[in-house]
Amino acid sequence: MNTNSVPLQHLAAGQAGCICRLLGQPDVLHRLEEFGLRPGTRIEMFRPGNPCIVRLGGCKVCLRADDLLHILVEPIDGAAPGQGCCRRRRWRGGTG
């Protein structure tokens, strides 16, 4: 596992991170990955706390972390969205 990774709760408001790992039951993880919470995705803290509000893709999501779920992220410091994510896909900057 990447040494830079921290739990999602450690992100400050406005700070972005890249999801490195989700830890939890397979079925719970399946649901979250279907929802778009999956490794390699950029996530941005909007309102820290528990529950917290994060920005994920084009929407905001309210999340409550508990014993069942740990989200580890790799903080992206001061980088513009779309840059510096661990497995960030570049395919979207297409012709439009």
Partner: protein
């Protein structure tokens, strides 16, 4: 093309939540909407009709969902409808998949699942205007080429692109796109093929569709396998709850299908795991990879995201202080409006009931029929209609809050508090609604998709003090609690008692929720994840349609039951209706009537006689009720209610208030010969004078009054609540359980109150 040969084609509308699906449905179906429940399920079934180029379509609005993995009730129904297994829904011929332009990647996940169904599919891209405002550029023709199905841009709320969507649907039905190649790795497809063989051997039916085989492999909860068992009774709540209970383990013990099938599935999953294709994790991986391929070159997003209006609003509305303050203000306005707006309507209904009752009294001969119509049917219909204004107004406000996107923020704000009692923020609004009326509160619990949380909310909902308890409280408090003030007039003992009763309800509800989550409804809840949609202006049309739908469901399901129970209670209070006991009174009445006829209009003897006549009428009613079946039951039960400080007449009134607790006031009025009058002044005075039969000791003391109020704070004396609970849980088990546990609590609470009260009072 067998689909095109049918006269009416069934089209399913599917999409993620908050994509504007309901608005698109309204735009397509117009006013021809029909809301009902799927038979045997508590999921709303919304259908509508539309015609395009001479072809008639039936539209089915499926619940908003992120995935076709059947985990929640909504998803199970959607999957069953798409697979043609849902009772009460026609097999689907085509699918319209609505996607949100702002969130395309995640929306395409569902599209990738839908396209495997092999049905003619059209993708409607909604919210293009919002995407444009966020500088998100979409190349729809390119997306259509890459997806291989028709893609139409729409703005559902402005009715833009609807004709194009209908035309694309007609084209897709006439000329379906060729089947797509699979997204899954060959090792997975080998297992799918093997499963298709196994299943046809097991069930002796034709080959299983590849879609079903894939979903069977991926559905580790065992729900689908359970549905395929030939004689499975999977429609009841028991099965629904069961499968979500065991959703955590692979190939759950509930509904695991025919042994051969479940063994085959388990073995296949084992082989796949060994081949580095873990189930179910492979699904998001391959589908998101596909979605990303589909969007390549078709979507361009700005590098830097500018804060939107929604962001700015959310900065204040999700703030721990300003957000809570705003939320409290909104709730205050909503409940104030519910009470002020509902009161005139409720008074009008009551007035109409009284007027109609008076008319019947005057135009029908005295007897069982008149009594049945007035005391049974009319009061039953009245007590059903009494709920309607509150339900409609409350759902109107909740509809607006939901449609504009605020309800999700409220759930976020309240989650911290609700998590402490083991629930999530979504339970808060339904519980708050219960302070107005438990019925809409229980109906509002549909938004909670976690089955255990929803059940817990529903089971503790009747403990929260609804407005129907107020008549009981105000009567007894005004009659028996001394009007003392403390702290220089700031605190009033009567007010404190009322507040204490509200607090009692809240404390017991919280405790009950904690206990239920630790015992009966124990189990790990899935993590609380909730999308916060962008704010938008609520659509009045959507809100009104939802309000009317809920109102109709209440009238339809609760109404009939309340009416039936009202008539039963009427019969219990009316029969056997012996005339022996009232013979002396009737004789006296006849004499007085003769007197009145002979006396002049201004004679004081005449007015005395008239007063006595009214008294006699009340006494006759009282004698009949005391000798009725319920009256005798009251006598029989007196030993049980005596420790609560009640005489048999209170016990009897409590039984008679089974359909609706506010009835207890009127019944006590008749039982104690006080009659029913405007502000119950006579009843209050009468109650103070009532003595135990055979002794001069007054029945009502402060401990007795408190004991009755505590009983009513905790009991489940409300037919409407129990009927709606049955409707929403799809079984009599839960209302029966609620009635039992609440009655026991109420009895023990009243017992403790009376015994401690008398002990303290010396």
């Amino acid at each position: 093309m067998p689909a095109a040969a049918k006269s009416v084609l069934t089209v399913a509308l599917i999409g993620n939540p908050n994509t504007g699906k309901s608005t698109l449905f309204s735009a397509l179906a117009g006013m021809s909407q029909h809301v009902a429940n799927y038979p045997g399920a508590t999921v709303e079934k919304k259908t509508g009709r539309m015609t395009c180029a001479g072809q008639r379509y039936e539209l089915i609005d499926l619940p908003g969902l992120y995935s076709l993995s059947p985990r929640s009730r909504d998803e199970m129904v959607a999957v069953d409808v798409l697979l043609g297994q849902q009772k009460g829904a026609n097999p689907v011929d085509a699918v319209i998949c609505i996607v949100d332009a702002v969130n395309l990647l995640r929306n395409l996940y569902l599209v990738s699942q839908v396209r495997e169904l092999g049905l003619p599919t059209v993708v409607a891209v909604n919210m293009l205007d919002v995407a444009a405002a966020r500088s998100i550029a979409l190349d729809l023709p390119r997306l259509e080429r890459q997806l291989g199905v028709p893609v139409v841009g729409v703005q559902a709320h402005r009715r833009v692109g609807i004709a194009e969507l209908k035309a694309a649907l007609a084209r897709a039905v006439k000329d379906p796109a060729p089947g797509e190649e699979t997204l899954f790795p060959p090792v997975f497809e080998d297992e799918v093929a093997r499963l298709q063989g196994t299943f046809s051997r097991t069930a002796g039916a034709g080959p299983m569709p590849a879609f079903l085989a894939r979903r069977l492999l991926l559905d580790t909860s065992g729900y689908l396998a359970g549905r395929l068992r030939p004689s499975v009774d999977g429609s009841g709540l028991g099965a629904t709850v069961g499968s979500s209970y065991h959703a955590g383990c692979t190939a759950g013990p509930v509904g695991s299908g025919t042994p051969a099938l479940s063994t085959a599935l388990q073995e296949a999953r084992e082989r796949l795991r060994a081949a580095c294709c873990p189930i179910p994790a492979v699904e998001p991986a391959v589908r998101y990879a596909w979605a990303e391929r589909m969007l390549t070159g078709a979507l361009s997003e700005p590098d830097r995201r500018r804060p939107t209006v929604t962001d700015r609003i959310d900065h204040s509305l999700t703030h721990w202080f300003w957000g809570l303050l705003f939320f409290a203000a909104v709730m205050l306005i909503v409940f104030q409006s519910v009470f002020t707006w509902a009161r005139p309507a409720m008074e009008a209904i009551e007035g109409a009931e009284t007027a109609l009752g008076g008319w019947l009294q005057n135009h029908l001969a005295e007897g069982a029929l008149r009594s049945l119509l007035v005391g049974g049917v009319l009061s039953g219909v009245g007590s059903v209609l009494q709920f309607l204004p509150q339900i409609l107004i409350l759902f109107f406000f909740l509809g607006i809050l939901e449609d504009c996107g605020y309800l999700a923020r409220a759930a976020f704000l309240m989650d911290k508090f609700m998590a402490r009692i083991g629930l999530s923020g979504k339970s808060f609004i339904p519980m708050l609604s219960c302070f107005a009326c438990t019925v809409p509160g229980i109906m509002a619990a549909r938004v909670i998709e976690n089955e255990r949380d929803r059940l817990t909310t529903i089971l503790v909902a009747p403990l929260l003090t609804c407005s129907a308890r107020l008549p009981v409280y105000t009567l007894l408090i005004a009659a028996f609690i001394p009007d003392r003030t403390y702290c220089g007039g700031l605190l009033n003992l009567q007010g404190l008692t009322l507040a204490g009763l509200y607090l009692l309800g809240i404390i017991v509800a919280v405790t009950a929720a904690l206990v239920l989550k630790k015992t009966l409804l124990r189990g790990q809840s899935p993590p609380f994840v909730l999308e916060l949609p962008s704010y938008k202006w609520p659509s009045l049309r959507t809100v009104v349609q939802r309000v009317l739908g809920r109102g109709w469901i209440f009238l339809h399901t609760a109404g009939t039951l309340i009416l039936a129970v009202s008539i039963l209670v009427w019969a219990g209070l009316y029969y056997p209706h012996h005339s022996d006991a009232v013979a002396p009174l009737i004789q006296e009445r006849q004499q007085l009537q003769q007197q009145v006829k002979q006396l002049a209009g201004n004679d004081s003897a005449r007015s005395n006689a008239e007063v006595r006549l009214r008294e006699i009428a009340r006494e006759i009613d009282g004698v009949h009720q005391r000798h009725s079946i319920l009256g005798r039951l009251g006598h029989f039960l007196e030993p049980a209610v005596r420790p609560l400080g009640w005489d048999w007449r209170i016990g009897c009134a409590v039984i008679a208030s089974l359909p609706a607790r506010e009835v207890v006031v009127a019944t006590m009025g008749v039982m104690y010969n006080a009659g029913e009058d405007e502000d119950n002044r006579a009843l209050k005075e009468r109650l103070r004078d009532v003595t135990w039969e055979g002794s001069g000791k007054p029945v009502f003391s402060i401990p007795t009054a408190l004991s009755i109020m505590v009983f009513f704070a905790l009991c489940a004396q409300c037919g409407a609540t129990l009927a709606v609970m049955r409707r929403e849980t799809n079984s009599w088990r839960w209302p029966a359980f609620t009635f039992a546990y609440m009655t026991v609590l109420a009895y023990l609470g009243a017992l403790a109150t009376y015994q401690v009260g008398t002990w303290l009072g010396g």
